[in-house]
């Protein structure tokens, strides 16, 4: 079912937790609410789940307005950050909890619980209490418990934050596969940008209760709406400059560092001609010094990460620039060397200062 948030707002006295968020999530798609802690993403999710009453605005699931519906009548599957498994009930009883509340007959209940245990590779663990399960197993029980009731929408509150890094990626892809298979419309809260980019169809970046940008992962990475989004998603270099020529969409920018680059204007261009140009680390190539169109820099540190090598170089004016390159291309640089940095001619975005 489609989920629609209309001008949803939550305030506590003078404090604004969520300042008007509007979003539509199409049937079967997943929206990631992404942002640092305290940005309002969890508050938004809890409003959808029915634990917090919005101050204004409305929430629609399908054709139905569920804004004032109590939590237990909303028919939403929710996977908690702490999993919130009932400690006094076994894995199977935890999964059966929602079915019991819905008055599903015993035979059908047992059959559905068994099917769900199989689906999440939990068979054999049915009688274990939560504390007798590993973190990964607990997480799967929590997912099973949310899915077994055939919810109309699925909500995920940082479901991977308590798993170790290795488990995280596999579990994420598995969950994403389940969600697609069941065609569940979902909202997924996270502070981890790579998690959001790998799982969600749409990402909503939030900060201080305000929605900064909503779009696909590539839109948000390549055309961030503002500096905050650019810095929050991936690594970013900003070099100041002045617009030479151009219309509202794209222009030539003379960087203070000495070269001229083409750039696309961000969504909110200002009136002034002073701008900052976003150059992603992978959009900078290392060259020998003196090549035309390149910046002079001194290599400060080289950080080897396997597939990628990050070269941190300082420009003459003191700005530190990070370049991402392959191990082969990085061989021309050593710490202390003078080197040329050549920005790509595409994919640069300018922001008004």
């Amino acid at each position: 079912m489609q989920i629609e948030l209309r001008q949803l707002r939550k305030t506590y006295g003078p404090a604004v937790a969520v300042a008007e968020i509007s979003a539509t999530i199409a049937q079967g798609k997943m929206l990631a609410l992404l942002g640092p802690s305290g940005c309002g993403k969890t508050t938004t999710l809890r409003m959808v789940a029915g634990f917090i009453a919005p101050s204004s605005g409305s929430i629609h699931v399908g054709a139905r307005d569920i804004t004032t519906l109590p939590a237990h009548k909303r028919d939403t599957g929710l996977v908690f950050q702490s999993y919130a498994l009932f400690p006094h009930l076994s894995a199977a009883e935890n999964i059966a909890f929602g079915l019991r509340r819905r008055g599903v007959a015993r035979a059908e209940r047992e059959q559905r619980v068994t099917a769900m245990l199989d689906k999440l590779k939990l068979s054999g663990l049915a009688e274990r209490l939560p504390r007798q399960l590993s973190g990964g197993q607990q997480q799967r029980v929590a997912v099973a418990r949310a899915l077994v009731i055939n919810p109309s929408i699925l909500l995920l509150d940082e479901p991977f934050s308590n798993l170790d890094a290795k488990l995280r990626e596999g579990t994420g892809l598995e969950l994403s596969r389940l969600q697609r298979e069941l065609g569940l419309t979902s909202i997924f809260v996270t502070h981890d940008q790579s998690e959001a980019m790998s799982i969600a169809d749409t990402i909503a970046v939030m900060k201080d209760g305000v929605l900064q940008q909503i779009g696909s992962a590539s839109e948000i990475y390549e055309q961030p709406a503002n500096r905050f989004v650019a810095e929050f998603i991936g690594r970013a270099n900003f070099l100041p400059g002045r617009i030479l020529t151009g219309d509202g969409r794209s222009h030539e920018v003379a960087l203070d560092a000495g070269i001229t680059v083409p750039a696309i204007a961000s969504a909110h261009p200002g009136g002034s001609s002073r701008v900052e140009v976003l150059i992603r680390p992978e959009a900078i190539a290392l060259t020998e010094t003196g090549r035309s169109g390149s910046l002079m820099a001194t290599v400060e540190a080289i950080s080897y990460q396997g597939a990628t090598v990050y070269v941190h170089a300082r420009l003459a004016d003191g700005t530190l620039v990070t370049c991402a390159t392959t191990p082969e291309s990085s061989r021309i640089a050593a710490q202390g060397d003078a080197i040329g940095l050549q920005p790509a001619r595409t994919r640069l975005v300018s922001f008004p200062i």
């Binding site: 009453a53 409305s58 307005d65 804004t67 004032t68 109590p70």
Partner: protein, 289 residues
């Protein structure tokens, strides 16, 4: 608009729940706690001809009652000191011991709390009589040359009362010591402090708040205890609690008894406010858990 009205109704209903949850407790406290205590204060401040402080004037004008108050406070201080001297080492040993008996010993400490004070005082009475164990042990040790009667003396009351209240001190201090990271002691010793110095400079200093809190608790319970002074002390050990009992139940002078009760109440309340302020003012580390 319907949705909004429904929302307001649901919110009003939700606001009713905490009120309903609190209602029984608030009602019971209002009727059987606040009201009786308030009327006790009112009665204590009445004389034959209407409101007045006659009862208090009688108390503070008579050296006999000053003596009782002094004896009560002296008893409280002595009992507190005894429970501290025995309670500090015991709580420390139990908190730091890694033996599996430590848990059992802690349990054994709580056991006397589960036995009625009447029964415990009775045990002391058997020991305190002229031919009891206490007297005979002291004789055998050569500390006295003829049998002594500890029964019906202030000494007896203090020994018995300290035993009644000691478990509370041990439990309070045990919680405090447990919450002090033993690595702090190791750190002090690694910096050159001898164990005794480390104990004094680090552990006892950090436990200071808990020690004061435990002492205030024992002190206020000691000055309000009734069963032990009345059984072990008899008429000889006249303290505030027994005086209140005498005035009310035996002499039926309820206004004066109420005034005595009010004075005791003020002392205890003052101490517990200090206790509260102490726990508020200090970090969690020092407050008993």
């Amino acid at each position: 608009m319907t949705a909004e009205r429904q929302g307001a109704g649901a919110r009003r209903q939700a606001a009713l729940v905490p009120i309903l949850l609190f209602a029984p407790c608030v009602l019971v406290y209002a009727i059987f706690f606040i009201w009786p205590q308030a009327s006790l204060l009112a009665i204590s401040a009445s004389s034959k001809s209407g409101p007045g402080l006659d009862q208090y004037a009688r108390f503070f004008g008579d050296s006999y009652y000053w003596e009782i108050l002094g004896r009560t406070l002296g008893m409280g201080i002595t009992v507190t000191v005894i429970t501290l001297v025995l309670g500090l080492p015991t709580a420390y040993v139990l908190a730091r011991s890694q033996s599996r008996w430590a848990g059992l010993l802690l349990l054994l400490t709580t056991f006397p709390l589960l036995v009625s004070a009447v029964v415990r005082s009775f045990g002391w009475m058997v020991l305190f009589f002229r031919d009891g164990l206490v007297s005979r042990t002291l004789l055998a040790l050569g500390l006295i040359d003829r049998p002594v009667q500890t029964m019906y003396t202030m000494t007896g009351v203090i020994i018995a009362l300290a035993q009644v209240l000691l478990p509370l001190m041990v439990l309070t201090l045990h919680g405090v010591f447990k919450s002090i990271d033993r690595d702090l002691e190791y750190a002090a010793m690694s910096l050159g402090a001898r164990p005794a110095v480390a104990l004094g400079l680090v552990t006892l200093r950090l436990a200071r708040g808990g020690i004061v809190a435990g002492s205030l608790l024992v002190f206020s319970l000691a000055i309000s205890a009734f069963a032990t002074p009345s059984l072990v002390g008899g008429a000889r050990a006249n303290v505030m609690a027994t005086a209140i009992y005498e005035q009310t139940v035996e002499l039926l002078d309820w206004p004066f008894g109420a005034a005595l009760a009010a004075i005791l109440l003020v002392v205890v309340l003052g101490l517990s406010l200090a206790y509260g302020a102490l726990i508020e003012g200090r970090g969690e580390l020092e407050a008993p858990r």
